[in-house]
């Protein structure tokens, strides 16, 4: 298997979907390249798990096709696909020992017992549970159980992609860190394609080569962590990625200027005229200056986050955040200056590019 192609797939849990709200997953066209690590990021109920279950075959899409390499697997059951899935809560077979848990997918596929033994023993070493091989899996801790779930996926020689559905949710914070680095290490070593669902942006950004952001059943952006940060394609991505999120302000746009109330904000390019547009600028690209230099604001609060401070200000009744250094003086009468190159323009929540 090489790459996974989603060709116009959409899914509805209703038998006869009517409006847009009936679709848990609106049309998605996407290619997952072989061996890459992807994070699937989005709020609860945005269709992440639906998308994952469609890829693994637990669900059959209402529309569209799924290709693994060149072969169409749309109607194939999950056990026939070269895919493993790790769930939010560790799934272990309570009555079996750790060894038998890991051997289960192999024995179901009628792998000869000698090979089962060597593969399971290797997997026990990889997930570091050799000394617990004979223990009943039910008596292990949550992180050990989750390692078994992962091991059951990796133990099969035919697996080329592993899907993770928020696998670290029930793990203690310090073990989370350990498991995450082990997972990263395993990914490097085995080279499987990894699709990792999470709603934790730190997890997504540290893990993945590419991040897919979903919102209300749609893929709103696909890109590297840098792209998500610098050029959010949807205002939701702006809010969701970064802490604090992007400042989004209603404005009308005409040419090289955006007009917000009585203020003019210069833009880096020339845009089509739009009366109800929004401008987005990250707090990192907002500078606090003395009154008169930029947009007049009232500073409401300053939060010290350790390495930097967040200035929460009010501009024409809208909240605007700015990130300033620890030792920067804040003027009593302040104004804000937006870096024109970093101001994005949105119409209907979607990013618009300047005219060429």
């Amino acid at each position: 298997m090489s790459r996974i192609v989603l060709d116009g797939i959409a899914h509805s849990y209703r038998s006869n979907p009517q409006g847009a709200a009936d679709w848990a997953l609106k049309e998605v066209n996407h290619v997952w390249e072989d061996g890459q690590a992807y994070a699937l990021l989005g709020p609860s109920g945005c269709g992440k798990t639906t998308l994952l279950n469609l890829i693994s075959g637990l669900l059959t899409p209402s529309r569209g096709r799924i290709l693994f390499g060149d072969s169409d697997v749309t109607d194939m059951p999950p056990e026939a696909r070269n895919i493993a899935q790790v769930f939010q809560f560790p799934v272990i077979y309570d009555t079996m020992s750790v060894f038998d848990n890991l051997a289960f997918p192999l024995r179901n596929r009628r792998v000869p017992e000698a090979e089962v033994r060597t593969r399971v023993e290797e997997m026990l070493r990889i997930i570091d549970l050799q000394d617990k091989a004979k223990r009943k899996a039910a008596n292990l801790s949550a992180d050990e159980k989750q390692k078994i779930s992962l091991g059951r996926g990796l133990v099969r020689s035919d697996v080329n992609a592993i899907l993770f559905d928020e696998p670290l949710t029930v793990i203690d914070p310090h073990m989370k860190w350990v498991l995450r680095s082990q997972l990263k290490h395993l990914h490097k070593r085995f080279g499987f394609t990894m699709i990792y669902v999470t709603h934790d942006q730190t997890e997504a950004l540290t893990f993945a080569d590419k991040v897919v952001v979903m919102y209300e059943g749609e893929v709103v952006q696909f890109g590297t962590p840098e792209e998500l940060f610098e050029k959010p394609r949807h205002t939701f991505v702006g809010y969701f990625i970064g802490s604090p999120g992007m400042n989004v302000l209603p404005a009308s746009v005409d040419g090289r200027e955006a007009i917000l109330g009585g203020n003019r904000i210069s833009l880096s390019g020339s845009y089509e005229r739009a009366v109800t547009a929004e401008i987005g600028v990250r707090p990192e690209f907002v500078r606090v200056a003395r009154a008169g230099e930029g947009l007049p604001v009232q500073i409401r609060r300053v939060e010290d986050l350790g390495r930097f401070r967040v200035v929460r200000a009010s501009l024409e009744g809208h909240e605007v955040n700015a990130v300033v250094g620890e030792d920067q003086e804040l003027p009593a009468e302040a104004s804000l200056v937006f870096d024109p190159a970093r101001v994005n323009v949105y119409v209907d929540s979607h990013l618009v590019e300047p005219r060429a």
């Binding site: 279950n53 693994s56 075959g57 637990l58 059951p77 999950p78 056990e79 895919i83 493993a84 899935q85 769930f87 939010q88 809560f89 799934v91 077979y93 309570d94 009555t95 079996m96 289960f104 997918p105 179901n108 596929r109 004979k134 223990r135 009943k136 039910a138 008596n139 779930s149 059951r152 996926g153």
Partner: protein, 292 residues
């Protein structure tokens, strides 16, 4: 951590102790009192010691009834538990079928024992009963009043009809509480239908099955009303269970002493067997290596 120790806490359990005393301990002690004495009426009692216990344990009648009880309970468990699991597995998990099935399953449980007995008594009669007549038309002369086998079949079918629902409902509750992820993981692991049952559903049903087995064992071991209504313990003594014998002895013959001794033995047998069931079912599947 040091546990706080306060004897005043006993006051909090006092209401329960009083309640249990009136409902269980005091009646039981009365029975114990009867079992070691003899009476000829007029509230005059003589000390009898262990005489009644010895008599009971040496009586063939007691052992025969006890044997019938054990066979009956064994058959009941062997039929109702697998059947209950099978029906629960076949029940729908969502949609309009769920409430319909649940109500249908609950119906037999709502019917009083003696009514169930009467229903089956009429149903099975060869002259006017639907079942008896139809079977007779096929050349099977089904007669629970004269044929011991037919009497047994009637009593067992009646109990299965009445109580399998309880096992079904308990198992169904256990099944619906299994998270979807288990089934999904099993599909990805390529597990067969049987493997899903054996390694996911059955282990997760362990606790409800323990309750089901205990309830059905205790109840079936105390069977009284149905055979009393349908067969009256006959033909001959073939459906005379311990409880029927006990009532005959205590109320029919007014032998309070032997009846009390028998009650206590009966009670101890149920207690001991329930304990065995409980221990066996909670011990299996434990990690022997770690002793947990």
């Amino acid at each position: 951590m040091e546990k706080p120790w306060n004897n005043k806490a006993w006051f909090l359990v006092l209401p329960v102790i009083v309640l249990v005393a009136f409902s269980a301990i005091i009646p039981l002690m009365t029975v114990v009192n009867y079992s070691v004495q003899d009476t000829f009426g007029n509230n005059v009692f003589f000390w009898a010691g262990t005489e009644w216990f010895e008599e009971t344990l040496q009586s063939e009648r007691f052992w025969a009834a006890l044997g019938r009880n054990l066979v009956f309970s064994f058959i009941i468990l062997a039929i109702e538990v697998p059947l209950g699991i099978a029906v629960a597995l076949a029940m729908p998990r969502k949609g309009i079928g769920v409430p319909v099935c649940l109500v249908l399953m609950a119906l037999p449980l709502l019917i009083p024992w003696n009514v169930v007995g009467t229903i089956w008594q009429v149903f099975g009669r060869i002259d006017i009963g639907l079942l008896g007549r139809v079977l007779a038309d096929f050349g099977i002369y089904y007669n629970y009043t004269q044929n011991p086998l037919h009497a047994w079949i009637t009593v067992i079918v009646m109990d299965v009809w009445h109580w399998t629902s309880l096992v079904v409902l308990l198992c169904y509750a256990g099944l619906v509480s299994i998270p979807d992820a288990y089934y999904q993981a099993a599909r990805i692991d390529g597990a067969s239908r049987w493997a899903v049952f054996r390694y996911i559903q059955l282990p997760k049903l362990k606790h409800v099955l323990l309750i089901a087995v205990l309830l059905r064992f205790m109840d079936s071991f105390m069977i009284y009303t149905e055979p009393f209504v349908v067969t009256g313990g006959g033909p001959g003594n073939t459906t005379t269970f311990l409880s029927i014998d006990l009532v005959k002895m205590a109320i029919g013959q007014f032998d309070l002493g032997p009846a009390a001794a028998m009650s206590i033995i009966y009670f101890l047998i149920i207690l001991a067997l329930s304990y065995v069931f409980y221990t066996v079912m909670t011990q299996t599947g434990r990690d022997r290596e770690t002793g947990r």
